[in-house]
Amino acid sequence: MRMIKSAVVLGLAAGIGLAGTIAQASDDPIATRQAIMSSVGAAAGLGGGMMKGEIAYSPAAGKAAIATMRAASLSFGDFFPAGSDQGKTGAAAAIWEDPDGFSAELAKFAAATAKASEAAGKDGPADVEALKAAMGPVFGSCKSCHETYRKKN
């Protein structure tokens, strides 16, 4: 009984600790979401470089690119609190004016990465063709969202 209690306390403490970490990260939501998006850009660069044949293909690298996209698609949308439209940001006002539309784009991104992760499996896409098939819809979700929810340059 006592053990269970301790475990609960520990769990809570860990939970609070985690919450504390998240709170810290979202102190600057603009910097956080930009860091996530730059990881997306790096993953797209790796994936795209392999598709173009500029980087030698390896299944592990394909998997890393997809896993990065996956993690970003699940977290990115949490860093657009009210008021974070001000400052040095490329986020368009449409994000806050049409939150449902923005959520729909995030859902599209997450659905595409879910499928890609599944296709990648344990060892990553076997070859470039498999990577293209898995990554294509993920890439499509980039511009679908950027069309409306990112400021022009």
């Binding site: 850009g41 790096a42 797209a44 660069g45 795209g48 173009k52 368009a92 006002a93 890439f139 980039c142 511009k143 679908s144 950027h146 069309e147 990112r150 400021k151 022009k152 340059n153």
Partner: protein, 310 residues
């Protein structure tokens, strides 16, 4: 005194008559019309994608075959007012199905409607005027194969003085010029002239890139000395980028980078295309690779436009 009044009245009448005459919608003459013949619909489909007709004339967010339903209705919110894209489907009642090739050629190259009114240059005939007679004939043939969409689009919402269509006739005299903007490839580097000229044709003509990427003067005419040098977005917030080979900017893109961007929608840094350019890129992706290479070759060999402090 009486004499002076009479002189003033006469001068006023003369000025009004000159204004009326100069603002008259122009059309192609018989000799020019000989360059046009109804063409090949399959070729016309490529012209259709190069021209991006669907991006304004199809329903907003249209995908797949819906991009071929040109019922109009898209609203362009500009500083001059709201322009509403008309129905250009093959409907004879509401679209352009009843138009002759001559009607179509006059609209595309003179911005003049079949019933002799001026079109507003939100319809980029200032660029389309540089298209070849063959391409206009091919496009005419292709548009005739597309589905008829019933229903007219609502009228434009423009305030005075922009609601006076006749005035556009004067504007056209100032700003409608079918001559090429860039006469020859910029010096330096070896340029494949035929490829560059194909790129010039696509960019300055059907592609109508300059309509957004070039700044406009107060009268709404393009500042050709800053051709493709970037401009405030004509609709919505933000800026349209400078796509001249300027140092520290677009000049760092190789020709291959530009062609890849038009094909895939990714910049060299793997940022993705956004805004209205998404539609443009998706249209360009439907062209043969050689056309994207031609656009790239042209953009690499035009005068760089350096940004002044803003």
């Amino acid at each position: 005194m009486k004499k002076a009044v009479i002189v003033l009245v006469v001068l006023g009448v003369v000025a009004a008559a000159a204004g009326w005459f100069l603002s008259a919608p122009t059309t192609l003459n018989q000799a020019q019309l000989a360059a046009f013949a109804p063409g090949d619909a399959a070729q016309g489909e490529l012209v259709f994608w190069a021209g991006g007709c669907t991006s304004c004339h199809a329903a907003k967010d249209a995908e797949g075959d819906d991009k071929l339903k040109l019922g109009g209705g898209l609203r362009l919110e500009t500083p001059f007012g709201v322009f509403v894209a008309p129905n250009i489907s093959s409907s004879t009642a509401d679209g352009i199905g009843a138009w002759s090739l001559e009607d179509f050629a006059n609209a595309m190259t003179h911005g003049t409607s079949p019933d002799g009114r001026n079109y507003y240059p939100a319809f980029p005939y200032t660029s389309y005027a540089r298209m070849s007679g063959a391409d206009i004939g091919n496009l005419y043939a292709f548009l005739n194969t597309l589905p008829a969409v019933e229903g007219k689009a609502p009228p434009h919402e423009l305030g005075f003085p922009f609601n006076i269509r006749r005035g556009i006739g004067l504007w056209k005299r100032l700003f409608l010029d079918p001559a090429p903007v860039i006469a020859a490839p910029a010096a330096g580097g070896d340029v494949d002239t035929a490829l560059w000229e194909r790129g010039r044709y696509l960019v300055e003509g059907p592609g109508h890139c300059g309509e957004c990427h070039t700044p406009r003067n107060l009268a709404g005419g393009l500042e050709l000395s800053r051709w493709l040098g970037g401009a405030p977005a004509p609709t919505g917030e933000g800026r349209i980028p400078d796509i001249t080979p300027v140092e520290g900017g677009f000049g760092s893109w190789s020709a291959a980078d530009i062609a890849y961007y038009l094909e895939s929608g990714f910049t060299p840094e793997y940022d993705s295309v956004g805004g209205e350019m998404v539609h443009v890129q998706e249209n360009m992706a439907k062209l043969p690779a050689s056309d994207r290479e031609a656009i790239a070759a042209y953009l690499k060999a035009i005068p760089a436009v350096v940004q002044t402090a803003n």
